[in-house]
């Protein structure tokens, strides 16, 4: 560890600094709070919404347990039961678990990094409102018989229109697909936030473990979620337009869905678990009153778990007829991933043992110990189901239900409740009650084990999952009755927690100080603007190892005096060594992101009920509000440099590869590339598994070479034109007609390229509804087309800024981001040409 820091030589604090900060960072009152963007406000709303979905999905679970308490029960109908388990699983996974972790990231990260906020506060707010609106509409379908009934993984062919007519499945496909987009928006925010808004001195080696876990969490979302988004696009297109991706007789394959779904679905388990593990790694040292043992090994374990989790998806498909050798591969990988998880467990135990004083048995500690017990049991049964012969025996039985509840509830819900008790004083002027907390813990811990441990036995006794009832003479009744008693005991524990919240949770910008005597920055004295000055960090546990840091920060003895630009701002630092780079001006409260979220949700939900015209209007309005939102976000270098303390002067504007906006675009392009990679996999997969109908013997061949060559030329023209437009950007205060024309030509060139490619295929007589091959060909065009359409919108936006003089050679972030996406579009289009036109020719 470095030696403790001395205070930064303080820049004189401006007169009335605190009042100015309070004014700039003020939260709107009453119903206008919806327009707030500050992380401590929207983070709380986000967590509250996620918790609400936890309660709602939990109530559905209680109804299911009541139904299963006795054999032959008819409390609910079979159809309603199918909807119940589908909405329960979907809500828990998509509307509770991932959003809860993202919400904690939004709320805790800026405090842990002593940033005034994450770099894109309106993006966070957009993601949150989109999620809340979409989630509530999705959940409400259970009340009017419109809920999906295909299980949380919605396997075709069951979910094809032929077997599941009506809009129920569409609510899942469009609703969940839309909410995943919201999750991706949050992931962009977190990646850029962790890498670019750390306090000076907080190098990669000194980052809090939770920041590491959120970075890995967001990275996993970027690579995993596109697979399921792509799958939902394919299934919705098949249901709506009859493109046969999953219909076997036309060259499709239902297992394609399983591959795509589980390529997302397995990492999803770790997407949920890793941040929870990060939270545990933050709480245990405080409770044990000693630094974390094996920090480096824990980071290794987190990265390894995240990375290796992408190589396990086939273990959900062991019984689908996959060659034995592949089963061997994935069985080995599934067992190997237990190693990094084990590293973490041993590090936590070692930390508890390392403290010179006895560990404090507070409510958070109890929930952590409960987590260790339950999660370890879930991990052990995970190794059991990783063995192929055992998995064959218990596949689709209650053993698997027990296993994944031990992993998910143990691995995420218990740490989450520990988090509620531990971090509540950061945002509440009162601590939650230790007495009620212990009641909540014991009820939940005992209830959980009573509910789920017997399911191992029920499963081994042969009870299949997803059955709405069962005959009374199979010996399952008593075990099911016990499970039901356990489920209601858990509910009692959650109820005690809610009572505790009502009695003791009192939101406050100042919090309740540092009641646990923790060592990390979120416990610095703070207000609505976060900390008065941004600290210089030299250790992993700054409040323990840098004496007087809290007093210095509160006295304004560290970085960023006042609000030198007159707006909300924070310091952007370099991603490896956290050296100050520039002062980021951030937008304040506003309505545009709220309306953008409302109309984006409207677009997807209206489309679900086939109200096409209102959906289109809603989509146009969503785009319009996005434009209004981003119009003022490229302020330019007009404010010059400002002093942030210690004699350091930083610019207030940055463009190019070091800027936060550039990073966000790169992350977005990674998402787009992941989506396209899922497409390439699907194309080659269908070719591999359906040799007799890929392509069908009477299918038209690829178009004449003139079409791909023309398409390629247009793509290159688009990329070239935007490059040239960048060279011709005007000096500040001037206009450049050539630049504007080239920009628009670039956008039109890219859109034209996509249109020409589609026209070429259409000319040959290839119809997307005829075969999976044809559908895949047009899907490539569609995927590049949606990027080209986005480029066209951005091009028009940037051209408008050029016209009014808001973009030029120095004030150029809007242009740079548009150019980045245009280059990506051209590259993806060219790759698609090689695949779609080259592969059939090479393979004959």
């Amino acid at each position: 560890m470095d030696s403790p820091a001395t205070p930064i030589s303080p820049t004189p604090r401006p007169e009335g600094e605190r009042e100015e900060l309070l004014r700039i960072w003020s939260t709107p009152k009453g119903w206008r709070v919806v327009s707030a963007v500050n992380n401590t406000v929207i983070g709380l709303i986000y967590i509250g919404a996620a918790f609400l979905f936890f309660i709602l999905a939990g109530i559905l679970a209680l109804v299911m347990r009541a139904q299963l308490a006795q054999g032959g029960n008819d409390l609910v109908s079979q159809e309603l039961y199918n909807q119940l388990f589908t909405v329960h699983g979907t809500t828990m996974m998509f509307l509770f678990a991932v959003p809860a972790m993202e919400a904690l990231g939004v709320m805790l990260l800026p405090q842990m990094l002593a940033a005034r906020d994450l770099p894109f506060p309106r993006l966070s707010a957009f993601a949150i409102w989109a999620y809340i609106i979409g989630g509530l509409v999705f959940f409400s379908t259970i009340f009017y018989d419109l809920a999906p009934a295909g299980g949380w993984f919605m396997y075709p062919p069951l979910t094809l229109t032929e077997f599941m007519p009506g809009d129920n499945a569409d609510f899942w496909l469009l609703g969940i697909g839309f909410i995943e987009i919201s999750a991706i928006a949050g992931a962009v925010e977190i990646v850029v936030g962790v890498l670019k808004t750390r306090p000076p001195g907080m190098t990669l080696a000194k980052m809090p473990i939770f920041a590491w876990t959120m970075l890995i969490f967001a990275g996993m979302i970027i690579f995993a979620f596109p697979a399921v988004i792509f799958a939902t696009i394919l299934l919705e297109v098949e249901r709506a337009f009859g493109w046969p991706f999953f219909t076997a007789e036309l060259g499709g394959d239902a297992l394609l869905w399983q591959h795509l779904f589980w390529f997302f679905g397995h990492p999803e388990v770790y997407i949920i678990f890793l941040p929870a593990a990060g939270l545990v790694s933050m709480m245990i040292p405080t409770m044990a009153r000693t630094p974390l043992v094996g920090y480096r090994l824990i980071v290794v374990a987190l990265i390894a778990t995240g990375f290796f989790s992408f190589g396990l998806w086939v273990h959900h498909m062991f019984t689908t007829g996959i060659p034995g050798l592949s089963l061997g591969f994935f069985s080995a990988a599934s067992m190997a991933v237990a190693i990094p998880s084990g590293i973490q467990v041993f590090s936590w135990i070692a930390t508890m043992a390392a403290g010179r004083r006895r560990i404090r048995f507070t409510t958070p500690t109890l929930f952590i110990l409960g987590f260790l017990f339950i999660f370890t049991l879930g991990g052990l049964t995970g190794v059991m189901v990783a063995m192929v012969p055992f998995d064959f025996q218990v596949h689709d039985t209650y053993f698997v239900v027990a296993h994944f509840h031990y992993v998910l509830v143990g691995g995420m819900v218990f740490p989450l409740f520990a988090t509620f008790y531990y971090w509540a004083p950061m945002v509440s002027r009162k601590l939650l009650s230790e007495r009620l907390g212990k009641w909540a813990f014991w009820l939940m811990f005992i209830g959980f084990n009573v509910a789920f441990f017997p399911m191992h036995i029920t499963g081994l006794a042969g009870m299949p999952r997803r059955v709405w009832t069962y005959p009374e003479n199979l010996g399952w009744d008593l075990l099911n009755t016990i499970s039901t008693v356990g489920a209601f005991t858990i509910a009692a524990g959650v109820l005690v927690f809610i009572i505790d919240l009502v009695l003791n949770f009192r939101p406050s910008n100042q919090g309740a100080g540092n009641p646990w005597d923790a060592g990390t920055l979120e416990w610095l004295p703070s207000d609505v603007y976060s900390t008065r000055s941004i600290p210089h960090v030299t250790t992993r546990d700054p409040l323990w190892e840098q004496p007087n840091l809290a007093e210095e920060v509160e006295a304004g003895a560290h970085y960023l005096p006042g609000a030198p630009t007159g707006f909300r701002e924070t310091i952007v630092t370099s991603p490896i060594e956290a050296e100050p780079q520039y002062v980021l001006q951030m937008p304040g409260n506003g309505w545009s992101q709220v309306f953008a979220a409302v109309f984006t949700a409207g677009f997807f939900l209206l489309l679900t009920i086939k109200a096409v015209v209102p959906a289109v209007i809603s989509g146009v309005l969503a785009v319009a509000f996005c434009m209004i939102w981003v119009w003022p976000l490229d302020p330019g270098p007009g404010k010059g440099k400002v002093e942030i303390g210690a004699g350091i002067k930083l610019p207030t504007y940055f463009s190019g590869p070091q800027s936060h906006g550039w990073w966000a675009m790169v992350v977005l392009m990674l998402v787009a590339a992941s989506l396209y990679l899922a497409y390439v996999f699907s194309y080659l997969y269908l070719w591999t598994v359906s040799p007799d109908v890929w392509a069908p013997t009477n299918a038209p061949g690829p178009p004449d070479l003139i079409y791909p060559l023309g398409t390629g030329a247009l793509l290159l023209f688009g990329a070239g034109a935007i490059w040239l437009a960048g060279r011709l950007l005007p000096e500040p205060g001037e206009r450049s007609l050539a630049s504007i024309i080239l920009l628009i030509a670039a956008g039109l060139g890219l859109v034209g390229a996509v249109a020409l490619d589609a026209w070429g295929h259409w000319q040959t007589g290839l119809v997307p509804t005829d075969s999976a091959y044809a559908a895949m060909v047009y899907t490539a065009t569609g995927l590049t087309g949606q990027v080209a359409a986005a480029v066209l919108l951005m091009v028009l936006f940037t051209a408008a800024r050029l016209v009014v003089g808001r973009t030029d050679r120095e004030r150029r972030n809007s242009f740079d981001h548009t150019a980045l996406l245009a280059y990506y579009c051209a590259a993806q289009g060219l790759f698609g040409l090689l695949l779609i036109h080259g592969f059939p020719r090479v393979m004959g």
């Binding site: 080696a205 290794v300 591969f329 990988a333 190997a336 192929v388």
Partner: protein, 122 residues
């Protein structure tokens, strides 16, 4: 850290072992699936599969071992952060992850010694 350290290079450097592991998994699974499912349309027969998979496993294992023993060979061309306290931290992450990946590649590769090629378990 030198001024030219790149965060992208540093991230790739840290992930060197897992990237090799992923390439090995992708190569092995894709090749195996393609030859077993669509062998008649490819110029390769299933009898070549053990040799190809064995060669892939050996190459992946060797690459990871080289990275473990000579991190400079990986880090220098990537402009990864490799000096000072942060550099030491980054290199230790890379080595630990490479070690885990080596285990993963070996464990994965062992399957082909134990399970008949192309046997569908339906």
């Amino acid at each position: 850290m030198t001024k030219s350290s790149s965060i992208v290079g540093t991230l790739i450097y840290i992930h060197f072992g897992p990237i090799v592991w992923a390439l090995h998994l992708g190569f092995s699974y894709a090749l195996h699936a393609a030859i077993c499912e669509a062998g008649e349309r490819l110029p390769l027969s299933p009898t070549a599969l053990p040799w190809l998979l064995g060669a892939g496993t050996a190459a992946a294992g060797l690459a990871v071992i080289v990275g473990l023993l000579f991190p400079d060979l990986v880090g220098t061309p990537l402009h990864a952060a490799r000096v000072g306290q942060t550099g030491a931290f980054v290199t230790s992450l890379m080595r630990f992850l490479a070690l885990l990946s080596l285990f993963g590649v070996g464990y994965f590769g062992l399957s082909m010694l134990m399970v008949p090629i192309c046997l569908p378990l339906r």
